[in-house]
């Protein structure tokens, strides 16, 4: 299966590189769901960057006289039990969501891919140890592994990033290892070796660029998953705690006022659904445009 895939790939490289990326973009953005996903992500990014310009309220300062107001012209989504504007907190919440999602995924992606590259390229006992260790990490649900790490180190943004990074790492490592294992059998790798390229050069100049596309898809899809998991931890009170506004801890905070002020829990949850949906739609589009055969495998 990989054999045929490789031949068609090496034939594809005969065409100039620019047309390939243009083709990918064209296929991707030819579908309205991908455009929808992109628009959602852009909106959230704009929200996160320009948060102070979008709202006149402070997301953290307590203002008890205005507490628990229903939605109105002044407070579009009402206020929470501390009198803080709910919409403002949702807007600021996008900062944590994006920060955690993007940083954790990039970090664990880099470490996981490096380990996978080493395991796949060198193999042997080192490869076995790395891969079995990843199996062990994968046998733990990401949420529980993260929770355990967060409890031991003790809460906060940095801890969450580390915990998420460790929990997400095995997928990258496995995918990279599998990709490298099949790619290193190619003639171009042997040619590079024969011509005297060192291991590092073969790995980073020849293998990584060729096996990267599926990993890129995984990264995009994982950002959504990372945001979802951080929200879950913050909801449980083990992630990032109030007063820092995160969508997860806002849903938890609104739970007590569910009967009278349902919007307090429902609105931040909707924000989570939207942003995760956005990254998933773009990730799916990217996968189908890069290589439809990956469908169902990533």
């Amino acid at each position: 299966m990989t054999e045929t895939g490789v031949t068609s790939d090496s034939q594809g490289t005969l065409k100039p590189h620019i047309s390939e990326s243009r083709r990918i973009l064209k296929v991707m953005f030819g579908r309205w769901v991908v455009i929808l996903g992109t628009v959602i992500i852009l909106l959230i990014v704009v929200m996160a960057i320009f948060a102070p310009l979008l709202t006149q309220y402070d997301p953290i300062k307590i203002n008890l006289p205005d507490s628990l107001q229903q939605p109105s012209g002044q407070h579009l989504l009402g206020t929470d039990e501390m009198g803080r504007d709910l919409l403002t907190r949702i807007i600021y919440g996008s900062r944590i969501a994006l920060l955690v999602g993007i940083t954790a995924v990039t970090g664990s992606g880099v470490v996981g891919m490096l380990l996978g590259l080493i395991a796949g390229y060198f193999g042997g006992w080192l490869g076995t140890i790395i891969m079995r260790f990843m199996d062990a990490l994968m046998s733990l649900p990401p949420l529980i592994l993260m929770l355990a790490i967060a409890v031991m180190i003790g809460g906060g943004v940095i801890t969450i990033l580390i915990a998420l990074g460790i929990a997400l790492m095995p997928t990258y490592c496995r995918l990279m290892c599998g990709q490298v294992l099949s790619a290193k059998e190619n003639d171009y790798v042997m040619a590079a070796n024969v011509l005297g390229a060192g291991n590092l050069r073969v790995m980073f100049r020849h293998l990584v660029p060729n096996v990267f596309p599926p990993l890129l898809v995984l990264i995009t899809l994982d950002i959504g998953f990372a945001i979802l998991t951080e929200a879950a931890l913050s909801f449980l009170g083990i992630g990032i705690n109030p007063p820092t506004p995160t969508w997860g801890n806002m849903v938890a905070g609104g739970q007590r006022y569910l009967f009278t002020h349902p919007v307090m829990s429902i609105a931040p949850g909707l924000a989570i659904v939207l942003v995760v949906l956005g990254f998933n739609l773009v990730g799916d589009g990217l996968r189908d445009a890069l290589d439809p055969r990956l469908r169902g495998r990533i």
């Binding site: 649900p141 529980i144 409890v151 003790g154 879950a232 659904v273």
Partner: protein, 314 residues
């Protein structure tokens, strides 16, 4: 086949060994003196020394590990300081609740997920397919805990159809137990239905394009027989492996659902322990879950090799 089973068995044993290493190392992550963190600031020097010795923290680290693992094999996971009871006993008491809910959700999401995926693939590019795909896309993006809260709001508080929290054993009062379980099971299942449906759909679509399906169609078999007898059986093979992943995520979701619906299972115990920094409970639960998932994956792998002989030689 025997060789394949032995290889997988050895692999599983190595993974279980590494799971114990990871669980052991978790306690090493605690900054500062773990004994002080476990006992709190007001601990007397005497109790500190006693626990240090009891946990074997005065020994070299590999000796500590073997001592701890020895205890684990005898079922000794240490003592919880918030409940003043053995961790293994606390987990054992709550295990049936979590296992029951997980089993129901696993069965529900596998059945509905496969059905939705097959319908979606067979009716490709119709309204039904678009609807299922849309549902699947949203289902994956929805946080389990939020889904639970939405359920509580609409079906519990607004409509008053279902109880908003609690747990009754199905052996005590089946009707009440089922009413209480509907929303948690639903919240746990939705994301997994979506995952299974997507996997089934793409695997079914891939299978439909295989040569043997074309052969079956061209020799005049009815479409139904081709689809459900020839295609579905083969398309379901990758879905079987997904059960292991689904189980892993379901156990993660269990933590959230038990918290939202106030269900006295292992998940809520874990959250309670995490909030109170009862490290030994957290460590014990991580270890037990890791072992359960590894053993389940072993069974799935062997089943997989039994259904599909090609797998055995990989």
């Amino acid at each position: 086949m025997a060789g394949f089973i032995v290889r997988r068995l050895i692999q599983a044993l190595i993974v279980i060994f590494l799971v114990t290493v990871i669980s052991f190392l978790l306690l090493q992550l605690i900054p500062g003196d773990p004994v002080l963190r476990i006992l709190g600031q007001r601990a007397t020097q005497e109790s500190i020394d006693e626990l240090t010795h009891e946990l074997g923290l005065d020994l070299p680290i590999h000796v500590q590990y073997f001592k701890w693992v020895g205890g684990v094999f005898r079922g000794d996971l240490g003592k919880s300081f918030i409940f003043h009871e053995d961790v293994s006993k606390l987990v054992r008491e709550r295990f049936p609740v979590t296992a029951y809910l997980t089993f129901l959700s696993l069965a529900l999401s596998t059945i509905i997920g496969i059905m939705a995926g097959v319908i979606s693939a067979v009716k490709r590019a119709t309204i039904v397919d678009s609807f299922i795909t849309l549902f699947a896309n949203i289902g994956i993006a929805v946080p389990t805990f939020w889904l639970g809260i939405l359920g509580i709001y609409f079906f519990g508080l607004k409509l008053g159809w279902l109880p908003i929290e609690g747990w009754t054993s199905p052996l005590v009062n089946f009707w009440e137990s089922t009413r209480q379980a509907i929303m948690p099971v639903f919240a746990l299942s939705v994301p997994n239905i979506a995952v299974v449906a997507r996997q089934t759909r793409s695997s079914m679509l891939e299978t439909i394009h295989q040569d043997y399906i074309r052969t079956a169609t061209s020799k005049g078999l009815r479409k139904r027989i081709v689809l459900y007898k020839h295609a579905l059986r083969n398309a379901l093979i990758p879905v079987v492996t997904l059960v292991g992943v689904t189980l892993t995520f379901m156990i993660g979701g269990e933590v959230l659902v038990e918290t939202v619906f106030n269900i006295p299972g292992v998940g809520r115990l874990l959250v309670r322990a995490a909030l109170d920094r009862d490290f030994l409970i957290v460590q014990g639960i991580v270890l037990i879950i890791g072992i359960i998932v590894t053993l389940t994956n072993l069974v799935i792998d062997i089943t997989y090799g039994w259904i599909d002989p090609r797998i055995r030689y990989r």
